[in-house]
């Protein structure tokens, strides 16, 4: 391809002749519910009155929760982020550092680009592959105190069929501190029309969820199976539950005991599947709401989001009693664009949300109880560039990061953790972060923040930096 070819193809991409008219017509329409991109015209019309969205706690809940305040400790000492080391180690190598007696950093060099870590579980792994992408060997490690400890890697082969496609693969897994870490090759991205992956089940050490998928984009659909790690037996998880009402499934969320699931479909909406009673019912029907998003809180309670115009309401719904309670209302939608830098962000784990007020003050919201925790002396308006918040899986801590837009990778210039139990927010500034290409940020386990990076010149140099605040 040359640039002339590129331009020639682009010249053929022209909007439909009636698009201009449709947008103009949309300017005169009444706003509608905002669950689908086709309704964007209504959405922005409502944006004109979004100023009227006023964040308020709708239900009278624990006053002390709402009054909770985090104390900010912005450390004077900065971290000197270790730069690249050109010589690749044969096995993961770790060095340690303690910053300002507050932050414990573990700097791990990984053997090659086939390494990674299991989100939230606290193990790291290395895959060795042949040229065709198949797996030669697989190793797990845990980090105990100040050293890396190899873990026993086990394998389970399976084969199952769904919608005419036979999925045959091997799961590489280990058990560490009562949790399963698992990895399978799937189609490694080579097949665009089907794939499979495995997902650990909290509290279970004998089985994992096997997610089978087919299609992509609007044609994407998936189905959950249960894979027994000892026998390789695959069991249908939704058989007889009337799940077909929600088909095609595009996402499935489970309670830890797999007794219930939230079935999501881009086409059909949100459904509650009760495996014990073998029923599947639309959440709109069960709650009387127009559900925008749903996920599980603790004890099987559902946390629901409804969206009207540019505002969210948050609800809890108890499947056993049918009790519906609104915990927050009129939360303006957060957009991480320069046009609108305040509002509400919600997370799919931990049952927490973040609310950034127009003056930049930040609150952590407990979506299940309606409790609000503010950060004393901290305002996002003090920060230039992009920032983000991520709750840990249990919702007890929220990490904060600020990014340097001039860096090649993420460029994490400041990193902090809000500890909602200790009522502290420890914030660390970093230097030399641009020496590596930082690629991802997340929780390594419930306690440690993970930054992955690779060498700028050599992508096979892989680094995992962990921080305990």
């Amino acid at each position: 391809m040359n640039t002339r070819d590129y331009r020639n193809v682009m010249e053929q991409l022209t909007p439909a002749p009636d698009l201009e008219g449709r947008i103009k017509a949309g300017l005169t329409q009444q706003p509608r519910r905002q669950a689908h991109p086709r309704r964007l015209v209504g959405k922005v019309l409502v944006a004109a009155v979004a100023i009227a969205c006023t964040f308020m706690v709708a239900m009278a809940v624990s006053p002390q929760l709402r009054a909770a305040v985090l104390t900010l400790f912005h450390l004077e000492e900065t971290e000197q982020v270790p730069g690249p080391v050109s010589e690749l180690p044969e096995e993961p190598e770790m060095t340690q550092n303690t910053i300002a007696q507050q932050v414990e950093a573990q700097y791990i060099r990984l053997p090659n680009a086939g390494s990674g870590y299991n989100y939230g579980i606290g193990t790291l792994f290395q895959v060795e592959r042949t040229d065709d992408g198949s797996i030669l060997s697989f190793h797990y490690w845990a980090i105990e105190e100040h050293e890396l400890v190899p873990l026993e890697t086990r394998t389970t082969a399976f084969s199952t069929t769904w919608e005419g496609v036979t999925y045959t693969d091997t799961v590489y897994w280990c058990e560490y501190e009562g949790a399963i870490s698992c990895y399978n090759n799937g189609t490694a991205g080579y097949a665009l029309d089907y794939d499979c992956n495995t997902i650990a089940i909290p509290g279970s050490t004998d089985s994992v969820i096997l997610r089978l998928s087919q299609g992509s984009q609007m044609d994407y659909r998936e189905y959950p199976m249960l894979l027994n790690l000892e026998t390789g037996a695959v069991t249908d998880l939704l058989d007889g539950t009337d799940w077909e009402k929600a088909a095609p499934l595009t996402n499935v969320r489970w309670t830890n005991d797999l007794s219930a699931a939230i079935l999501s479909s881009d086409r059909m909406g949100w459904f509650y599947c009760d495996r014990a009673n073998k029923t599947t019912t639309s959440l709109d029907e069960l709650t009387g709401l127009e559900v925008f998003s749903a996920w599980f809180g603790q004890d099987g309670t559902l946390i629901l989001l409804t969206r009207y115009g540019d505002c969210y309401d948050v609800w809890t719904w108890q499947p056993n009693s049918g009790t519906l309670k609104r915990t927050f209302s009129q939360l303006p939608v957060y957009q991480n664009n320069e046009e609108n830098t305040h509002g509400f962000q919600f997370f799919f784990g931990g049952g927490r949300g973040i609310y950034v007020a127009e003056d930049g003050t930040v609150s952590v919201l407990d979506l299940a109880t309606g409790g609000t925790t503010t950060v004393d002396g901290f305002s996002l308006s003090q920060w230039e560039g992009t920032t983000s918040f991520i709750a840990n899986p249990s919702g007890t801590k929220v990490l904060f990061a600020s990014y340097d837009g001039t860096a090649d990778g993420l460029g994490i210039s400041s990193l902090g953790v809000m500890d909602l139990e200790a009522s502290t927010f420890i914030l660390l500034d970093r230097e030399n972060y641009d020496a590596l290409y930082e690629g991802s940020l997340g929780w390594f386990d419930g306690d440690r923040v993970a930054v992955t990076a690779h060498g700028k010149d050599d992508y096979t140099e892989t680094y995992l930096y962990l921080y305990r605040f």
């Binding site: 193809v9 053929q12 103009k24 922005v44 992509s216």
Partner: protein, 163 residues
């Protein structure tokens, strides 16, 4: 309706000047005409209701392209969007060869699409692409280089924007 007339005029003027550019960039990111149209709608509605004052038409165009890139990237973060971006069959193209070329472009990782398109199609310099996409110039250069390698994009003789 009378109150909206100035808005409609503003929309018509801006859409006529920049509608196709917005739509093309959205297509490069998203690959589906319906999705690109949705983004185009949202971009222009943002223009009407949320845009800052512009120094001139070029300033406005850069703002529109930045908002387009942001909206597309937001969409691509969505659940089913994590899967591959493939070309919608409803997209009209003159030949199968052109379709294959567009499929190659759409298969490019998201990171490289904006810099490649803004530089090689819209003709913006590295510094301008960096300003539009809020990236450092070195990041833009790196992404252009890698994107070009992935596309096996050969530069025309005399192309001055190469890095």
């Amino acid at each position: 309706m009378k109150e909206q007339d100035p808005l409609l005029r503003r929309f018509e003027t801006s859409y006529s000047a920049h509608g196709a550019a917005v739509y093309r960039l959205a297509m490069v990111y998203l690959g589906r005409p319906a999705d690109a149209e949705d983004v185009t709608q949202e971009v222009f509605l943002k223009l009407l209701y949320k845009a800052p004052p512009f120094a001139d038409g070029e300033h406005e165009k850069r703002w529109l392209l930045r908002v387009t890139a942001n909206l597309c990237r937001d969409q691509l973060k969505g659940f089913w969007r994590r899967h591959t971006v493939a070309l919608d069959e409803s997209c009209p193209l003159r030949s199968e060869e052109d379709r294959a070329l567009l499929e190659t472009i759409l298969a490019l990782p998201e990171t490289y699409k904006g810099p490649i398109h803004l530089h090689y199609y819209e003709g913006y310099s590295v510094a301008e692409v960096a300003e539009i996409l809020k990236l450092s110039q070195s990041a833009v250069k790196m992404r252009l280089k890698r994107g070009r390698e992935l596309l096996k994009l050969e530069l025309d003789a005399g192309w001055e924007g190469s890095v």
